[in-house]
Every structure is written in structure tokens, then in C-alpha cells.
């Protein structure tokens, strides 16, 4: 459950990188792992899945060091999918925040409130 949940979120993050520019696999992995604690072996399957679904296509481009790299490029199908998913994610996460932050949001106050209710 936890890893499935994470995979859905990572999919959106990966797609969002490709909105502005085409990137090669290792660059995507690097950018993502700078912000989120992920291992490389969870990201490659995501790239592969999204490519198979037709959300990305790929092409080879020479790198400075010689060997050509495989670049991932967002398709129209991909951007449509991304926007819809982003909307759903926004709606979902705003609901979660609303629930979690009812009343006050700092830990100390929440704990105090809970204690008052249970210890009286």
C-alpha cells in the first residue's frame, strides 16, 4: 500500500520534470532524488511504464562525452494526462490538508487538546 501510494505520486513528479524540457534518464533520477528520498530502482520502472503508455516518447542525442543518451520527451497525450492527474492530486491533497489542519495545526496544541479531552 505504502509503495503503491508513493508510486502514484512519483509518477506525477516525473511527468512534471518533462513539462519544461526533455531529459535523459539519469538526470530525471538525479533531480527527483534531490528532493525526495527514493532509490533509482523505483524510478526506472516508472519511466518505462509512462513511455509504454504513450505519455513520453524517446530519442537519442549525442552527449558531450560521446555515447548517445536516451532522452524522454512529453507527448500531447502525456501533458493531458499530467494536467488531469495534477487536478485530481490537488483536489485530493487539499482535502487531506483540510482534514489534518482542522482547528489548529501545530503539534503542541494538537497534543494539548487531545490530553485535555482524554485526561479529564
Amino acid at each position: 500500500m505504502k509503495s503503491q501510494f508513493k508510486r502514484g505520486i512519483l509518477e506525477i513528479c516525473v511527468m512534471s520534470f518533462l513539462v519544461d524540457e526533455d531529459l535523459y534518464g539519469y538526470a530525471i533520477i538525479n533531480r527527483l532524488s534531490q528532493k525526495i528520498d527514493v532509490t533509482e530502482n523505483t524510478i526506472y520502472p516508472i519511466l518505462r511504464r509512462l513511455t509504454k503508455e504513450g505519455f513520453f516518447d524517446t530519442y537519442l542525442k549525442e552527449s558531450q562525452a560521446g555515447a548517445p543518451r536516451k532522452y524522454y520527451r512529453m507527448t500531447y497525450k502525456g501533458i493531458n494526462h499530467f494536467l488531469r492527474q495534477k487536478d485530481e492530486w490537488d483536489a485530493f491533497i487539499s482535502g487531506v490538508y483540510q482534514i489534518l489542519n482542522q482547528g489548529v495545526s501545530d503539534d503542541e496544541t494538537i497534543l494539548k487538546r487531545f490530553k485535555e479531552r482524554t485526561e479529564s
Binding site: G8, T39, T42, S63
Partner: protein, 318 residues
Amino acid sequence: MMKQFLSDLKNALKARNIDSKSIDDIISDYQDMIDSAIEEGLSEAEITKKFGDVQQIAEELAALEEEKQADHKDEPKDVSLDTDFEVEDGYNLYIKLSNDDIVFEESENDKVHINISNKQALKGYTIEFENNTIRIERPKYSSVSSYFKRDKGLVFTILIPKNISMHSLHHETTNGDTKADYLKASKIELITINGDGAFKSLLSDSLRINTVNGDFEIDKGKFDELNISMVNGDVALRNTDVKQDAQLKTVSGDIQVDTFTCDTLFFKTVSGDLQARETYPKKVHLKSVSGDISITNKEKTPFEILKNSSLSGTISIH
């Protein structure tokens, strides 16, 4: 060292019966990523550590291949399902969907008829009838990931018998649109995130609409109580009579009203506007931050103003 990693990965993939073309693709992608990592100055030991356990990678990829095959099995086939429900007076209709559209139609028949059509399998949906209540529910997704994977939904056509009274209609949807030319129930609740609604001849003792971005349009409404709460969606009400109070709440969505009567009209807005023409409330209670409010009627019928407050919006009456 990297050669060892790649050959281990290849063997692990082979052991999981992945086809050889996919294996070649995967190995070439990994070769590519390893080259990039080396160019960025990572040592082979660091890379091996970074790329992790070949068995785990193979496991993930095997699951992906299997998923692809399973998807293939569910390839678009035309599904059309027709079901009749023998409801009695006072029946309930409970609907909870995600991306599916609904069309309600009036029928001379004495059964509720549901038709579902789309080039998609109906897998996982619940449609049941128990205790005079019809329940239609979307598949229960076990994870956020599959929640995000859904594409376009189904289309439900529901024929509502004219001569049998419906007690409650609960309709909850994320993106699906709803359309009805005639709909009557003692209690109606419509809840959407992005779904739109278009209704003609909507009758209810109590109508409640709750939407985030959906647009709603009602023509010929008759209600005892009306309660609309919205964030960004726009609402249009025409030829509508509310016996008691009409409560309209919006953040930034606009409300347009034309030919409308009610007891007390409560309107609360942050920045959404209310434009009400041919509107005959007995009383009004208006509260706005920056939204503009205009209420007019040709007869110049006076009404009592219970509250009339606005921070920066303009309020014009008559």
C-alpha cells in the same frame, strides 16, 4: 563491475520470463544511465550502490510486464449492460462515481432502468438493489496510484419512473457530468469536484449542491429549500421557485439568477458575483468581501433587507 551488474540484471530478468526484446531495451537503458552517472564522476562502487539490488529491479519490472499483459486482456470491448430494478414508492438512489457521466431520463415504465455503455470493461463497479435502495459505486481503489491511472469513465443512463416517488437521491462524483431533463425526489444531494450539472425540471423538498469547480445550470426548479455551496464553479438558476430559504454560498464562482422567487435569500461570497434578474425574495441576507451583488425585478416589489454588508463589492438593488 558494471558488466557484472548488467549481466546479473539480465539473468534476473530472464528468470522472471520477461521477453527478450524487453530485456534488451531495459539493459540498454541501464547501460545508458550508468554511462551518464560515470560522466558525472560517480565511481563504479557508488553506482552499484545507487542502482541497488538487481533482484528488486527485476521484480518491479516483471510486475510492470504482467500489468501490461493484464491490461491487454481488458482491451476495449463494447460493454452495454441493461438492468431493471423493481422499486417501490419512497425508494432511494445512491451514486458514488469518479469519472463517469450520468444522464437521467423520465420514463413511463414502473421500473428503474439503468443502461451503461462505453468501450470499457465494467470491472469493479457495484450496482446493487437492497431495502428499496439502488447503489451504484465506482470500483474501490486500493491505492492512490490506481486512483490516478483511471481514464475516461462510463456513461450511465438511468430511466426514472414517473409514477413512483423517489425519496432520496445522493449523487457524488469527481469528474463526471450529470444531465437530467426531469428529476424529482424528496431529498437531492449533488456533490462534485469538477463535474458539471445541467438540469431541466428539477423538483425537490430539499436540494443541496456542493461543488468545487463544477458548473451547474438549473432551469425550472421547484424546491422547499435550496442550498448551494461552491468554490470556483459557476451556477445559473432560471425559472426557479423556492418556498422557503435559498442559501447560496460561493468563494469565487459567479451566480446568475433569472426569474426566481424565495422566502429569504441568503448570499455569501468572497469574490464571486451575484447577478439576479426578475428576482422576488421576501427577505435578503447579503454578505460579500469583494463580490458584486445586483438584485432587480421589473415589478419593483420591495423586500426586507436583513443584512447587507460588503467590504469592497458593490451592492445594487432594483
